[in-house]
Symmetry: C2
Amino acid sequence: MVDNSPKNERNSMPYALEQLDTPFVAVDVDIVEDNLRRMQQQAEAAGLKLRPHTKTHKQPGLAQRQVELGAHGITVAKLDEAEVMLKAGLTDILIAYPLVGRAKAHRLALLMTRGLEPTISLDSLEALKTVALAGQLAGRSVNVLAEVDTGFHRCGLNGSALVELALTIHGTPGVRFGGLMSFAGHISGHRDVDRITRLIDEEDGMMHDLVRQITAHHVPVDDVSVGGTILSHHLQRLRTATEVRPGIYIFNDMGIVTAHAATIDQCAARVWATIVSQPEAHRLVLDSGSKMLSTDGPIDGCYGHIVEHPDWRIVRLSEEHAVVELPPNAAPAAIGSLVSIIPNHICTVMNLQNTVTAVRQGSVVASWPIMARGGTQ
Amino acid sequence: MVDNSPKNERNSMPYALEQLDTPFVAVDVDIVEDNLRRMQQQAEAAGLKLRPHTKTHKQPGLAQRQVELGAHGITVAKLDEAEVMLKAGLTDILIAYPLVGRAKAHRLALLMTRGLEPTISLDSLEALKTVALAGQLAGRSVNVLAEVDTGFHRCGLNGSALVELALTIHGTPGVRFGGLMSFAGHISGHRDVDRITRLIDEEDGMMHDLVRQITAHHVPVDDVSVGGTILSHHLQRLRTATEVRPGIYIFNDMGIVTAHAATIDQCAARVWATIVSQPEAHRLVLDSGSKMLSTDGPIDGCYGHIVEHPDWRIVRLSEEHAVVELPPNAAPAAIGSLVSIIPNHICTVMNLQNTVTAVRQGSVVASWPIMARGGTQ
């Protein structure tokens, strides 16, 4: 069972969610546990290693639970996150981010001397030099994945440039060529499942071709790591991947629901907010602004989904205000009453919190600190 | 001079900004000091009290400097912020937010017993009840401003509903009617100064009419408090206000520059980032994503202004990546080199940081903790 609580923060007397001051994030621990188990089972059924991206929750206790349930290591974006996870005893960490420069090399080397067994993805010679320097400083080689751009057009190479990078990594002392990594961020934002699965198949085909081209040079490609919760809803389609790195699946959010990769009931994290003003019959204000919800999205013009009132629309955020439009036939709202919001993008919401409230069946069971919050370096 | 450093964090040996790991926020202390002094002088020249909104910086040391320079108290949005500021000895605090519910009443009362001298703005009977309860619990009356909607359509009333609210506040035991408050957020986003000043004049006219209507009931209106850095660039136009509450002016940002209320040189806070990838000649990636810059904006399709390369465009943010488009004729970029970014909206950027780096003439002088970061309750 999920237990992410510092021992001294457990409550002996559970109390109702509605007694808490607002706004706050509540995480339903039973839904989290279900989400973790379901994805683990799906990965195993598809013969894939699961390496969850922990940037979503930034909590070592939840990462430990993911590993307990069968995850093959974890993923982070930044060294700050790796440091927090390593302190909690997690050593097998993919840093899915190009590390560049001496400061990063020295930090990575230091973490390796403390027990980190890193894999690093990269797409340039400068990042390769950085990682090789870290390996040299730490006295052992670093596992490196070549990052593939499969259509998101952020980082990554493709075609002959990618093959050349892979061969260069393979020939570089102090590093070990471990395979390929991609993140198909371009499948986010689509609602049409046929479109989504077509993009997934395209990525799979690209990875298949690249593996063929690289192995033709007698360079083995041990791992092909692909990312994302939406993609991970379609694991049975993957022919080439060996590993998947979903992050959001632990909580889910409206971005995932919109892509038909989770249901509202599978969303484990909600922002609870109070109606603090209703200047007009069809406009009210919640006390959860962009400093709670972030301005990510909007989805269908809304900055989150109000569970109790699906027809209310969060149309505008200030830092501490959410402006909500009510439909013409809406029942009167009560200033002072609470609503709960499923965010558009839970990763940025978690990063805004100092702590989140763990609940079970509507009762508060713990306060969880977001240990790697603000860890952007 | 601005000095916001915990005593044990001062550096005896200043070192160059470029030696720091990225991404980070650097604040130029000389520009901050200039910004604070200039606004203070402008407010005094216009015969207005300055009550800076500290949600922008969330740092008690900077709030203390604002008061040292002549500010008549400070503004916060949330009780969390008031608590942090009160601990640092700041007692005259406008909480420019409708407090609703027993939890808020009890918290406000507790802060009052610790020395808080609060003013609260509100727009409903529910919030009035909350504040009156706090006053009753604390054993003294609370100063209350009626919030006016002057066109932003967030919180606030206008016309006869506002006058009625003012009279009700005046007649409520445990509170004192202190006057009117507005925030003309609808002047943000405009570039045309004539349009901006017309909206400011309209607000001023509304406030003038409301004061006339309320005083006709023999109810004095001591204060008329108006908000915002853009408005505060035009203080000489205000006939009715007694107090202004700019927040962003301490740092400025691209939202303020776009409204011609500050220059690039008056922007005191920048996000420093490293070029970590350049997959194509005209696309590169910085290590400052939405967890550093927030997704506020975009302004002209960009998520911040790159000082060293004004023609580079930050067109897309992931959590830890900024995707930059280079113009067709751009000189080659060097992976590993640094750039500095003026954010679109500095308030949300500050709230994302654990600490910011204070610099003077390019040398690091201190690390400042963002004490009220994440304080949304």
